[in-house]
């Protein structure tokens, strides 16, 4: 150790020491760690609410939680998981860590703004937690007017304010990535040499900067209506509550792509590395990210098929919704084609990407059911919808996040985790997830509505299955926390490139030095040049 330290510059983790050096850091890698810790905490909080929901639904009677309390529990589960976990999960952690390194620069373009974004996140999160302890909020995560703006007597204003503030942390992250990717690429790092993770982050950032401000002004209108008695959505004054739904979904549908696009970027990296092959159809995968981001802005009306939207508008939104499936399918086919005849190694990241593809496939295809206007009338506000978006956001988003975390963990921490534990956890999560959510497609199709704490007894079998699966899922997640934390303490040291992967991040030491590179890298190779990539090497020589 002392010998090594003498020749090596200390890593970003070691220098400098102390709590203040972390809380005032401008290093993108340390900010990524701060975010990682905070989103993990909020995942646990949101998960606790999910556990309460699943426990209540074990029996058909509403016996554990009163209906009012149940309303608050599912609202908080949604608000926390979406705004405080899923949206920042990959961009603010893996994205923050990897974007500057992958493009060959020392930091994001605005390091202070990057730190500010974390503080804004913490402030928004604190305010939202204050709403939890101050009577909760019961509007559903969608804050639909006029219930949210006029009727609900829970802490809607506080929760809306928390969401408003947190939105700015997401805007600042996206804004930082866009400027960094445009202006800070290393010499030779042309647009078409960028890793596909960067393309995905870029597309995500576009959605963040174009969509988030709209939801910010929308929840601000709700807050103004509640506190200042401005009448904007109030039907008594001639206002139109459906306008709220349009404005809300203009952001909140693209927000789904904020959750899934970065996961797709992760999968593109992992598929190439784990099958040791050049990605199939690089430019198609790159442009499909942009296509998803752009088309994603034109489909929000499929949330309003039964909200008095005109049938012609519904028709157009239905067609465009089908269209957004095309770039998603392009990606899935290209990943499969990449693996075809590849040298696939069965490491734990491989398990996560296989899990991702299976779940995303189911989630994506059931999205077509819901995008079909006629069928959607039957399925609206049933558990079918709940199952669908969990397959996308948890099956896609969280599996991608965890896959990426397992892949880059040696780079981030400089330690190897237990491979066997990683594989077992991936299997637990995959099977637990399917056990939880697949039955919900069935009960949903049979007509069980979402957001009720009681249900007819004939649905109990499926709900017990769902709750049992959720327990399995919870054990899987807990296991990950345990072995990853254990690896920091006791795990063997990671070499620079344990997977034999390409990309600038694998050419520097694990964990990296504060400025990432000893000298400015000059890029001469295409991305995913696996013909000339080094072989995997797990031990430090």
């Amino acid at each position: 150790m002392s010998n090594e330290a003498a020749v090596q510059e200390p890593s970003y983790l070691g220098a400098p020491h102390g709590l203040a050096s972390w809380l005032l850091t401008k290093d993108h890698k340390r900010i990524a760690i701060l975010y990682l810790i905070s989103v993990t905490i909020f995942f646990a909080v949101g998960g606790t609410f999910a556990a309460m929901i699943r426990t209540e639904l074990l029996t058909p009677q509403g016996d554990l939680l009163t209906s009012d309390l149940y309303n608050k529990v599912f609202t908080l589960h949604g608000v926390i998981m979406i705004f405080f976990f899923l949206i920042p999960s990959i961009p603010a952690t893996l994205g923050n860590f990897l974007v500057p390194i992958m493009i060959g620069t020392k930091d994001l373009a605005f390091p202070r703004i990057n730190l500010l974004s974390w503080y804004i996140y913490v402030l928004g999160a604190t305010i939202t937690l204050a709403a939890v302890f101050n009577g909760g909020v019961d509007t559903g995560w969608t804050f639909y007017a006029p219930y949210s703006s006029l009727s609900s007597n829970t802490s809607v204003t506080t929760a809306a304010l928390g969401v408003f503030i947190t939105g700015f942390s997401s805007i600042l992250t996206g804004f930082n990535f866009i400027v960094t990717i445009h202006r800070m690429r290393a010499p030779g790092m042309t647009w078409f040499r960028l890793p596909l993770f960067i393309w995905a982050q870029y597309a995500t950032s576009l959605v963040m900067i174009l969509g988030t401000p709209v939801v910010a002004i929308t929840v601000l209108m709700i807050a103004a209506e509640r506190t200042l008695h401005l009448g904007i959505f109030d039907p008594k004054l001639g206002g139109d509550p459906v306008l709220f739904q349009h404005l809300f979904w203009f952001y909140s549908h693209p927000a789904v792509y904020i959750m899934i696009l970065p996961a797709m970027g992760v999968v593109s990296e992992l598929v190439a590395a784990m099958s040791r092959k050049q990605i199939f159809g690089y430019s198609f995968v790159a442009f499909s990210s942009l296509a998803i981001a752009i088309i994603g802005f034109l489909v929000w009306g499929h949330h309003l098929f039964v909200s008095s939207q005109s049938i012609y508008a519904g028709l157009v939104f239905s067609i465009i919704t089908m269209l957004v499936a095309v770039p998603s399918a392009v990606k899935t086919f290209n990943w499969t084609a990449t693996m075809y005849k590849g040298a696939i190694s069965w490491e734990s990241p491989t398990f996560w990407i296989f899990g991702f593809m299976g779940l995303f496939l189911v989630g994506g295809l059931t999205g077509l059911f819901l995008g079909a206007m006629g069928l959607d009338v039957h399925l609206t506000d049933t558990y079918f919808v709940v199952a669908h978006f969990h397959y996308i956001m948890v099956g896609g988003g969280v599996m991608g996040f965890l896959g990426g975390l397992h892949f880059w963990w040696p780079k981030i921490t400089g330690r190897m985790y237990n491979e066997t534990a990683g594989k077992i956890a991936a299997m637990l999560v995959f099977f637990g997830f399917n056990a939880t959510f697949f039955p919900q497609f069935i009960v949903g199709y049979m007509g069980m509505p979402r957001r009720y704490h009681a249900y007819p007894p004939e649905f109990q079998f499926f709900n017990i299955m769902s709750s049992a699966g959720a327990a399995l899922l919870g054990i899987g997640y807990l296991m990950i926390v345990v072995y990853l934390v254990y690896s920091i303490v006791k795990g063997p040291k990671a070499p620079a490139n344990p997977w034999g992967a390409t990309g600038l991040e694998w050419e520097i030491q694990s964990p990296p030095i504060t400025h990432n590179f000893h000298e400015m890298p000059i890029v001469t190779k295409e991305a995913y040049d696996y013909q000339h990539a080094p072989m995997p090497q797990r031990e430090v020589k």
């Binding site: 020392k106 373009a109 390091p111 804004f175 929308t218 601000l220 200042l228 904007i232 206002g239 404005l247």
Partner: protein
């Protein structure tokens, strides 16, 4: 002005940039991207405006007549002149003219303050005439007028908040300009503050006709 050498780093060049040009380009692109988010932020309000004006065309003309177009017009002129002085301030920074920078920045701030004072008196009159939405709103008025005033206060209020933030930024810039911080090599903060100021002006250029001038064309 100092003469740059190829080896010495400019004291204002941050550690993660390689050249001053890269730093300037990043700052200006950053502000443009930020302004895109601002367009979307105000865009939500403009969308609501379009929907309700389409629903209540007559009430909106009535409501618009309650606003004083003379004061609105005065404020428009004030802001356009402040954009000119701001542009001159950026020019002065680029050529490193300290006195001119301070003078034009102070003028810009003074004009911004005039705008806010006029706005204050306009708001005050709305309170007196029971045109502020809520329980005290004049109930005899046509359906839709209250929504107009809700959007009026929201749009002009958020615009005024941007002006106040702008004045804060100007204060920081003028203090640094007085210290002689900005010159041909390093003027990015002035340029970026200028972009912000122009944007806030442009928002007003849209707000003025949309709120004050409905149904005021000849023959109406």
């Amino acid at each position: 002005m100092s003469t740059p050498t190829t080896t010495a780093r400019h004291p204002k060049l941050q550690a993660h940039f390689y050249t001053m040009e890269q730093q300037l380009e990043a700052s200006t692109l950053g502000m443009w991207v930020f302004l895109v988010t601002e367009v979307m932020f105000f865009g939500g309000l403009f969308m609501a405006y379009i929907v309700y004006r389409h629903m209540y065309p007559h009430a909106w003309i009535e409501a618009s007549h309650e606003l004083d177009w003379r004061l609105g017009g005065l404020n428009t002129a004030v802001l356009i002149v402040s954009s000119l002085t701001m542009a001159l301030a950026v020019r002065a920074a680029m050529i490193g003219n300290k006195g001119q920078q301070v003078l034009t920045l102070l003028l810009t701030m003074a004009l911004g303050t005039v705008f806010l004072v006029v706005k204050f008196f306009e708001y005050k009159a709305k309170f007196a005439h029971h045109l502020v939405p809520g329980p005290h709103f004049d109930a005899s008025l046509e359906q839709g007028m209250q929504i107009f005033f809700s959007l009026y206060f929201m749009m002009t209020g958020i615009h005024a908040a941007h002006m106040i933030i702008g004045l804060g930024i100007m204060t920081y810039i003028v203090i640094n300009a007085a210290k002689g911080t900005y010159n041909a090599e390093y003027y990015a903060p002035v340029e970026v503050a200028g972009l912000y100021w122009h944007f806030v002006d442009i928002v007003w250029i849209f707000l003025f006709p949309l709120l004050y001038l409905l149904g005021r064309h000849a023959g109406a």
